[in-house]
């Protein structure tokens, strides 16, 4: 399943000018570029949170440019996962409930609430938060909150996870462990990842680096120096 993104020019200020991008299943890609180059806008457009003003976008084999709002919401739910710079967990719910949330929106397709719960628990275990099921986000450190966010992004089993500066708010150590988690999930489950980052060190650990400058792709190369 390919995700093809062509010629996007999102908002009135024409932030992006003619992007031609393809993401293969399982790819671990970094999206880098200076501030204001349009990285976040591109990510939002890929994530169906914003519409492109022109061109076409094929996600998982379907042309999503003709989707209405409900269909886009459904696609976001089923195919994509999101990790934001600020974790954006729901403060009214526990860690476990936060992770379960995307599954609960449409429980039927996932085998019911019990199945979702056990999947969420397994993911929390995998990110090292076995003891934090019933803690509210306020009770967790920044690094732990981001790990909950990673688990949430994966609970529905998306094909592509979009991460906007996932480590931007964390110290080096926490950031590294998050990155390692993402790498691990990418290897274990074949989930494709697109990570927007400022940090060239992190970019250097991805399989592919796409550089965005002034709304256009400046370079798009495979990274042969991929690390762990």
């Amino acid at each position: 399943m390919r995700k093809t993104y062509n010629a996007g020019l999102p908002n009135a200020e024409e932030v992006l000018h003619g992007i031609d991008l393809q993401i293969q299943p399982g790819e671990f890609t970094a999206l880098i570029g200076p501030s204001g180059s349009g990285k976040s806008t591109l990510l939002n457009a890929i994530g169906l949170l914003e519409s492109a003003s022109g061109g076409s976008y094929h996600l998982a084999g379907r042309d999503v440019t003709v989707f209405d709002d409900d269909e886009r919401t459904r696609a976001r739910h089923d195919v994509l996962g999101f990790i934001f710079q600020f974790h954006h967990l729901l403060p009214a719910f526990t860690a476990l409930e936060n992770v379960m949330m995307p599954g609960l929106m449409r429980p039927q397709g996932k085998g019911g609430p019990a199945v979702i719960r056990s999947r969420a628990a397994a993911l929390l275990d995998a990110v090292g938060l076995r003891d934090a099921y019933d803690k509210k986000p306020q009770e967790l450190s920044g690094g732990m909150q981001q790990r909950v966010a990673v688990a949430r992004a994966l609970v529905v089993g998306p094909q592509l996870v979009l991460a906007d500066e996932p480590t931007g708010n964390l110290d080096t150590h926490a950031g590294d462990s998050i990155f390692a988690l993402l790498r691990q999930f990418n290897r274990d489950s074949g989930t494709a990842l697109l990570i927007v980052t400022h940090d060239p060190r992190l970019a250097a650990r991805c399989d592919r680096i796409v550089e965005l400058v002034d709304g256009q792709i400046a370079s798009d190369r495979a990274n042969t120096v991929a690390g762990a």
Partner: protein, 408 residues
């Protein structure tokens, strides 16, 4: 949590999260409901009391034969007017002939509860040396009791009107120096007289009636008044006392008789009651509007506060409709729980005040009618109100753009 479904879970949790706001608005709804409960109870009680007093021992509607009109024998013309002195004949007892048919027809009329035949006229009540001017009312007791509740007017004795029995007002008994079981003689203007045994003393609610009324069985009155087989009026009770006029109108149309309702006779009281009802209705409407606005405003604030959360939920796959339902549910739950609380509060208010406020006889002015059906209806109505109040905030929430909402 999972058992409740996504929207309900989120709605409940959002409400719990904004504890103070939720408490405030449930409190507001509760106060509104309590006030509505309270003034409704007071109004019903006070009006019921008033109507009881006013109608007292009177029936709701009376069917009488048309009054005799007197017309000049010779009519003038515009060119040659005649002047004539017209003298009305002294009042004779006018009667209804063939009353069973009329009674049946009246009973079948929409809104009529019960009908009783009455033969009444002036007479003299005599005991020993004492005599007083009275009104004899002959009737069939079992039918009459369904028209006028004599049973809650008994001060002493039992209600029965076998031949030879009479029920008299307490003032008349006093005036004649008679007690329960005594015999009195009743002499009619037509000359006949008969002796009755007093079976009960009644307090009919007014001194006038207590001084004059003597109830006997129908046949005795008919023979006393010289109108065998005929009656002077049909007394009627209606289902909805406030609509007595409509029933009277219908009876007027279908019979040729003279029909009077208590409303005509007491139209000032009736007008006052109507005005009270209108004002109370207005008060209730405005309270409802205020509560609805309160719920809406709190929810609007909540939507603004929760922009980020709404954005996140939408980003990870909640549809617009799901967000709409989340906020609509909040409105419903706030309305219903406010109503439940308010009903309890209202009941408490009523029971406290019903002890404090009493009418002239020292009876409670209004009693507590605990009606689960009413509470259920109020809760349903409040839930609906909450739903409507939540519509605009919910639509705002649903329309939030996820990308912008997250950016904050």
């Amino acid at each position: 949590m999972t058992a409740l479904g996504f929207e309900l879970t989120v709605a409940l949790r959002f409400l719990r999260e904004g504890r103070m706001q939720t408490a405030l608005i449930i409190g507001g709804a509760a106060v509104g409901v309590a006030v509505i409960f309270f003034i409704t109870a007071v109004l019903t009680g006070v009006q019921g009391d008033l109507i009881r007093r006013v109608t007292g021992a009177q029936p709701h509607v009376v069917v009488k034969p048309p009054e005799e009109t007197v017309a000049p024998l010779l009519a003038g013309t515009p060119d040659a007017p005649r002047v004539a002195a017209v003298q009305a004949r002294p009042q004779r007892l006018t009667t209804i002939d063939g009353w069973p048919a009329l009674a049946r027809a009246t009973e079948m009329t929409d809104g009529v509860l019960a009908v009783a035949p009455v033969a009444s006229g002036s007479a003299l009540g005599i005991k020993g040396d004492a005599s007083r001017s009275v009104v004899v009312l002959g009737t069939e007791l079992d039918r009459y009791l369904r028209v006028v509740r004599l049973d809650d007017k008994v001060k002493a004795g039992v209600l029965q009107l076998e031949p030879g029995d009479a029920l008299i007002g307490i003032e008349l008994a006093k005036d004649l120096g008679a007690v329960l079981g005594d015999r009195i003689r009743v002499q009619s203007a037509q000359g006949s007289s008969e002796v009755f045994r007093i079976r009960a003393l009644l307090d009919l609610g007014s001194r006038e009636l207590n001084r004059r009324y003597v109830y006997t069985d129908l046949r005795a009155a008919q023979s006393l008044l010289g109108i065998p087989g005929r009656i002077t009026n049909l007394d009627v009770s209606v289902r909805d006392i406030m609509r007595a006029d409509e029933v009277a109108g219908q009876l007027r149309a279908q019979s040729g008789q003279l029909i009077e309702s208590w409303i005509q006779t007491n139209n000032q009281v009736f007008a006052a009651i109507n005005n009270q009802n209108i004002m109370t209705l207005l008060i209730r409407v405005f309270i409802t509007i205020v509560v609805a606005l309160g719920i809406a405003s709190v929810l609007v604030v909540s939507v603004v506060q929760k922009r980020k959360e709404i954005g996140i939920l939408r980003a990870v796959g909640a549809t617009r409709r799901q967000m709409l339902v989340v906020f609509l549910l909040q409105g419903v739950m706030v309305g219903a729980s406010g109503a439940l609380l308010g009903s309890g509060l209202g009941l408490m208010l009523v029971s406290v005040f019903s002890r404090v406020l009493r009418n002239a006889e020292g009876q409670a002015l209004f009693t507590m009618q605990f009606d689960f059906g009413l509470v259920g209806a109020v809760m349903a109505g409040a839930a609906l109100l909450g739903l409507l109040a939540a519509v605009l905030p919910a639509r705002t929430a649903a329309r939030l753009d996820p990308a912008q909402a997250i950016r904050g």
